[in-house]
Amino acid sequence: MGAYLLKRLLEGAIVLAVVSLLVFVGVYAIGDPVSLLLSPDANAETEAALRRSMGLDLPLWQQYAVFVGNLFQGEFGQSFTFRQDAMDVILIRLPATLELAFAAIVLAVAIGVPLGLIAGARPYSGVDRGLVTASILGFSMPTFMVGLALILVFSVWLGWLPSTGRGEVGTVLGLSSSLFTLDGLRHVLLPALNLALFPMAFVIRLTRSGMIEAMDLDFVRFARAQGHPDGWIIRNHVLKYIAIPIVTVVGMQFGLLIAFAVVTESIFAWPGVGRLIIEAIQRLDRPLVVAYIMVVVTLFVVINIAVDLVYALLDPRVRPR
């Protein structure tokens, strides 16, 4: 187990190193920040001084070393637009994104698992075909279009739910989140539903195939022979059996959702990191873009490793020796 963990951590570190190199080359080597920062009437001496003070006169490998050194200290420089440390700007908005992704995952499981069970209970029936088609639609519809449709129907036409912002934020046990107030819940519902669509389609398919597979297995036949009704068997045995792949996929989707939140947050004016990064890209705020990429990719790597570990703990068959 220890060796496996070490191997995974090493792989994660390699991914982070590669990404940091790509980001460095992409953001720092292409385009000259000095020309952006300097006023047009500055002379050569001022330019050389600025270049020296920013460390741009050093050879490229030394610049990268400095860049990586700063990364380890969480220093990404000042955001051009916020005049604050870029990392701080990200960290202030990260909870809103995590909260949205969390709400989306909860919705995806709460709706997806029962639908998957219904579909899998009678494979190739009318209900099953309908649900499978709906899940294909869930995969192929672009997120922003579903968001538009939700706003149009529930905010503009029916007027039931708000379509912008996070609403009132409540605090429970030192955690502040809009999940703790009624107004906040009303605000989170539409964006979370929008974000949940993709993982929900996934969960439906996974639950369905797991259910179909499980109902033919010996332990289900045995339970049936004992005279237990199907509902009881599903609750007590089948759910445990299909939980493992669902936990894995849900975990991995969580990382994806943080990235996909870019679209949902832009549509619903949700004040998280996704909306922030779009603004940063449009305003060419490089320190902010770099900080965002490193934070999200790190989250991603950590989540993937955690999911693999949980998987290994849950399922002895994949546990490496």
Binding site: V19, V27, M145, L152, I281
Partner: protein, 300 residues
Amino acid sequence: MTDAVAVAPPPRGMRRVLRDFGRAPGAVLGAVVFAAIVVLCVFAPVFVIHDPYDLSAFSIMDARLAPGERDFAGVAHPLGTDEQGRDLWSAIVYGLRISLIVAAVASAVSFVIGTALGLIAAYRRGWVDALVMRVVDIQLAIPSILVALVLLAVLGRGVDKTIIALVTVQWVYFARTVRASALVEMEKEYVQAAKLMGFSGLRILMRHVLPNCLPPLTVVATVEVAHAITLEATLSFLGVGLPVTEPSLGRLVYNGFQFMLNGFWWISVFPALALLVLVFSINLVSDRLRDLLNPRRRRG
């Protein structure tokens, strides 16, 4: 002359695939709709009410007309007009054209790059293979929208830059598919025979291995065109893809989004519907092709 012995078996039953394809009404509908959209795009000037880029062809006096309303000149606008008085149908047709061209070019370039790298990886094995597949793995681990966003953040906006971003995201899928099927083909006897006959690596790859990798590649190609269309639309919707001067469907949806909350729903909804029809028609076709061309799923 001796070539005939080693030539790969011809793609079996291309005609059979076409015939079976015709048996699924959904897939035929998808193909017909897609063909109609292509015709619409190629002959766009014939089908539109006015040139949406010609600022003298429309007037702000006719802004935000509801679908079916007539403007001051008495011309009916079946889908209404946008915030500048531009006929929405015309804007959508030209938007479809831009979306389709960008997606087609990006997919074609990804096809060539991905196929070449996949074939080389499968042929050379060793460190070349390891390197290519490492890059593929890392990229598949990061969501494509993120990769594209980061690239556009570095490169800036533009048609060429959007295409570069799409290719960077997409070549991976082609490379992975080609490598997998090429590895299988490389083990087969006809390739061994061709090697024994002393044919060059390039010739074996291009004339023998590649033709047999085409079925799965076709499926990936259709999926990737749809993928490119949605990704480009999403990027343009977020305002980081195509510039305002090249309004693709995603950009049109974004333009209308600002007015949707005020009840002018059609400016946003119709371009979105056009996008949906386009993507869905391609998905119908690729779904059927996947069923027909995947040997494991082949029935009877």
